[in-house]
């Protein structure tokens, strides 16, 4: 299937509260194409979980249109069952009885789907071999989370929902989970994930949406967002100054870069320039140095992290709180 797999138009989710209805999601639009990995980011209370729960069919919406694989997730009966057969969900809490083993759980869950993966395949895929026959109650948090993922993919889903899939993982467990998720995308699974971890979104997602106060603040590929909303830090050393003094050099740099928005810090002979126009800075600085007879060395350009972008965006947006 090509084209959009998830379509959300003007979604509104409200909660009752003593002071009147509280808008957790406020006119959200979202389109996710087949095979895409989409990460929904936002601070606590931004409305990500509410949004995802509506798309999963676990929460009623106030208004708006939602379709997953052409089906309204609020449907019931046979239509709902049809949709459930084609999606997989990793919830924030595990939800498998602690008294059984992962293998028993997977056997049971696989029985409900029309074309499930084999239990053995899923145990391999999610790296459960070593504890497949241990009681779930004895597993560590990270091991249980892998089981959650296994349960979510046993039905061979076309769309996978991951709500904060690696919260509480240590760094190596997170890396493993990322590899698992990357493996799934090879099969063309469309994935919608929410996360607090910016590096997770950066590593996994084709596209990222940042939510704030129930609205979509900005959307794009991690690269787009970094370019459009973040500033790179360039660093260069002036290794041969010829006859020029420090003051003269600083003045020259300021003159060369005057048309470009930037910020400079001098650390001895080294300068650090924060800018969103790295190409412009590079060109002007290089031509100025050549004409002034200076030698520039040890160039480096550091792209902004998604985290920086995220922080910038959220600082620019007024702070407020609503239900998550």
């Amino acid at each position: 299937m090509t084209g959009p797999v998830i379509k959300v138009r003007d979604l509104v989710v409200e909660y009752r509260s003593p002071t009147g209805p509280l808008r957790a999601v406020d006119g959200l639009d979202l389109t996710i194409s087949a095979g895409e990995v989409y990460a929904l980011l936002g601070e606590n209370g931004a409305g990500k979980t509410s949004t995802v729960e509506v798309i999963e069919g676990h929460r009623p919406r106030h208004s708006g249109d939602v379709e997953v694989l052409g089906i309204d997730p609020a449907a019931s009966g046979a239509v709902r069952r049809e949709l459930r057969d084609q999606i997989g969900i990793v919830l924030q809490t595990s939800g498998v009885e602690p008294e059984i083993t992962p293998r028993e759980a997977l056997n049971l869950f696989s029985s409900t789907y029309r074309a499930p993966r084999s239990v053995r395949e899923v145990i391999e895929l999610t790296d459960l071999r070593d504890f497949a026959d241990q009681r779930i109650g004895t597993l560590s948090g990270g091991q249980r989370r892998r089981l959650d993922l296994a349960v979510a993919v046993i039905g061979r889903p076309k769309v996978l929902f991951l709500d904060e899939p690696t919260t509480g993982f240590d760094p190596s467990a997170r890396r493993k989970a990322w590899d698992l998720i990357s493996n799934l995308r090879v099969d063309g699974t469309t994935i919608l994930l929410t996360t607090h971890y910016l590096d997770e979104a950066e590593y996994l997602a084709d596209r990222v949406g940042v939510m704030s106060k129930g609205r979509m603040l900005v959307e794009g590929t991690p690269g787009d967002l970094q370019q459009a909303h973040g500033q790179s830090v360039m660093s260069v050393k002036i290794s041969e100054t010829g006859s020029m003094g420090q003051q003269e050099i600083e003045h020259g740099v300021a003159l060369a870069l005057h048309a470009i928005p930037h910020h400079v810090i001098w650390i001895g002979q080294r300068l650090e320039i924060t800018t969103s126009d790295t190409t412009g800075v590079l060109e002007r600085l290089a031509s100025w140095a050549a004409s002034a007879g200076l030698v520039l060395s040890d160039w480096s350009i550091e792209r902004p992290s998604l985290e920086q972008v995220f922080l910038d965006l959220n600082t620019n947006d007024d702070r407020g709180d609503s239900g998550d």
């Binding site: 939800g95 498998v96 602690p98 059984i100």
Partner: protein, 276 residues
């Protein structure tokens, strides 16, 4: 690709869910203890401490230990269905198990049916065990002609009490409240329903109330076909009707009030399995 494939057979799914619930039951030692071992021990103690007496009712005389054995057998069936479901379903809700299943294509009726059917199986097995103890130790006799009435009574009552358990599970706010509420319902009811000690000449108000509640009619309906002097070949329709009516009302409540999620902020830690 998947669209062309048939759904798994409903009966197979129901059997898998039922055996899953049975397996869980056997792996929760506390549940096994309260459902099977405790009524057995209570029966031994009551009959060891009661003086040798006979009870008279309209149908003739009962040895008291046989009378108590049948009454506690009925109570065992109620523990296995009502108490067990009222306790466990809210725990599973708080563990997120119900929500997890809701994310799958499993039809809701199969999920609930698996819970109910497994409880009925446990109830029937433990009642048969208790009656076996009665036959071995307390002179309980099962007349062949009474077996159809006995089976029908057990089935109607266990399904009805299972529905009552699901209704309590649906309306209680938290798992820890559930266990208290279930016991607060069942223990006082047992005391006025001839379960532990048969009441002789109870105040008429208590008698009337007990007859309107579901437990006493179930005890009566189970005792009738097992009466040592005049085993009834037909079920005690009136009493069974009261039980069934409670079951039906509970079924409606359970369906209307059923919740998949724990109330926000209302969860408690699960108690019935071992700590990690």
């Amino acid at each position: 690709m998947t669209e062309s494939q048939a759904w798994p057979q409903a009966i197979r799914l129901l059997l898998l869910q039922t055996s899953h619930q049975l397996r869980l039951f056997l792996r929760v030692p506390v549940a096994v203890f309260f459902t099977v071992a405790l009524p057995f021990v209570v029966l031994l103690i009551i009959n060891a401490t009661s003086s040798e007496r006979v009870l008279s009712d309209t149908n003739g005389e009962w040895p008291i230990d046989a009378f108590v054995c049948v009454a506690i057998s009925a109570f065992t069936a109620v523990s296995a269905t009502f108490t067990n479901l009222a306790n466990m379903v809210p725990i599973r809700r708080e563990e997120g198990v119900l929500q997890r299943w809701r994310s799958t294509p499993l039809p809701v009726w199969v999920l609930v049916g698996g819970h109910v059917l497994s409880a009925v199986v446990i109830a029937v097995l433990s009642t048969v065990f208790m009656l076996g103890v009665g036959i071995a130790l307390y002179g309980v006799r099962i007349a062949l002609t009474a077996i159809p009435a006995l089976v029908l009574t057990l089935l109607v009552a266990t399904v009805s009490f299972a529905a009552m358990g699901m209704a309590v599970a649906a309306v209680v706010p938290t798992a820890s409240a559930a266990s208290g509420i279930a016991n607060a319902i069942i223990l006082p009811m047992a005391l006025i329903s001839n379960v532990f000690i048969p009441m002789e000449d109870p105040p008429s108000v208590i008698d009337a109330v007990a007859n309107l509640l579901p437990l006493r009619p179930f005890v009566d309906a189970l005792q009738a076909p097992l009466h040592p002097m005049n085993p009834a070949a037909a079920p005690l329709w009136g009493s069974l009707g009261v039980v069934a009516l409670w079951g039906l009302v509970s079924f409606v409540i359970a369906v209307r009030q059923f919740r998949w999620n724990a109330a926000p902020g209302g969860s408690t830690r699960r108690r019935r399995s071992r700590p990690q």
